[in-house]
Symmetry: C2
Subunit: 235 residues, 2 copies
DNA sequence: GTCTATATTATGATAGAC
DNA sequence: GTCTATCATAATATAGAC
């Protein structure tokens, strides 16, 4: 119960990170940054949906209700504008793993809480994963500048929990790969999935709502020490 | 045993599809299409790694050891060149589900076989998933022209197997989502994963080798009717 | 079929008035 | 700070000689 509270507050913090940051920035500098914010918002939409190469400064200007010259006044170049947005977004998708990972008393509970919160985050920012992947693929140098400490710390906590007998022994990296894949894939592959299964937006939304339960079922099933019945290999 | 043979031949066919097709084409038209093949090969590399917007006709020409004019001679425009390659590649990632899905006698065995073969396919064409996702995102019209009958047929076979009591009852779409996500994510997220976990190419390759066993473990664990112990929901 | 040279347009970026 | 007008260049595409 106590760990649950700590966990929830940490994970919620992670979800609300950007919203808070934006509000602070706007409030602090009054209306002078209004235009800058408009540009950032427009650029965000453009870059997130079309990627760097597919985005046009003209399109960003149109979307912001301004002209191209204003973009270059507030941000020297397309690159600079892109990088500023990238750093904001990276800190969203790659939250810092502070106390959360150490505060848990039950690793399975912690992981289930993480799934809930991370899927909530992705629902708020559905384009984020694919956008980050595009950067990771197209601009390795830029991408390497953002650090995510969560994965490494998660693997360590997993290993510790396994040693303590709290969870079934397993390859932590493979587990993390499965976990992240299960969470991110519906957002990354939305268009492909909808087309291949012939799903309307409404049906797909329902699928997303039920996603957390599905992933958590996998977590419990795989990690619970007792549930070891049918796990012998096939080939 | 018999079903295993049918299964394997069908799945192997799917993996070898493009290799066969290419050989046939080259052999059929002798050396006249040599240049065209060079262009296609160069364009494939370029488009697959940089996407449509990031690719340059000049870069393709350089890679093929030709000049830009030749690209426009053999293919009217960048769009046409791109679309030709896209259709080839789509048929690779979206194999036709012929007899395979009906020939199985055990759905879990079939699914495990599918995982093996599909991961082998992805290992041969690691850029394929991300490339297809880029098209699905950037050019919905083009993407909608390729059809994948596998997902729908898989869902039907799943439902039938569940009704027959061969597998545990479960949402087939959620299962497919998890299955595909677990298979594709390491290829889609390679750069991000390696960076976030600090993995060398060699270590990551090892991770990929062990991937099939991990995914199959999940399949068996989730679908085996008896293994129903710890599946109650959490929240 | 293949090349060089060139046309045409799109796009990022800047100059300068207000 | 914001705008209009313009520059400079990069990229797709074509013309025409060989």
């Amino acid at each position: 119960m106590a760990s649950r509270l700590v966990l929830t507050s940490w994970l919620n913090q992670m979800v609300n990170l950007s919203k808070k940051a934006k509000t602070q920035r706007v409030a602090a500098t009054a209306d002078k940054l209004d235009t800058k914010q408009k540009i950032l918002a427009a650029a965000e939409t453009e870059f997130m949906t079309r990627g760097y190469d597919g985005s046009r400064m003209q399109a960003i200007a149109d979307r912001a209700g301004l002209n191209k010259a204003m973009l270059h006044y507030h941000f020297r170049s397309k690159d600079e504008l892109f990088e500023q947005i990238f750093r904001d977004k990276a800190s969203l998708l790659f939250p810092k793993a502070h106390e959360g990972l150490r505060a848990h008393t039950n690793f399975i509970e912690f992981t289930c809480g993480f799934v809930d919160m991370y899927l909530a985050l992705l629902n708020q920012h559905p384009y984020l994963p694919f956008y980050m992947l595009q950067v990771a693929t197209a601009n390795a140098v830029l991408f390497s500048q953002v650090a995510a400490d969560f994965p490494v710390k998660f693997v360590r906590a997993f290993t510790a929990a396994a040693k303590a007998g709290q969870i079934r022994d397993h390859d932590p990296q493979q587990f993390l790969l499965s976990l992240v894949g299960m969470c991110m894939w519906p957002f990354i592959g939305k268009n492909m999935i909808q087309h291949n299964l012939g799903l309307s937006d409404a049906v797909f939304a329902t699928l997303l709502e039920q996603r957390a339960a599905e992933v958590k079922r996998y977590v419990v099933l795989l990690l619970t020490p007792e549930a070891r019945a049918a796990t012998r290999k096939k080939s």
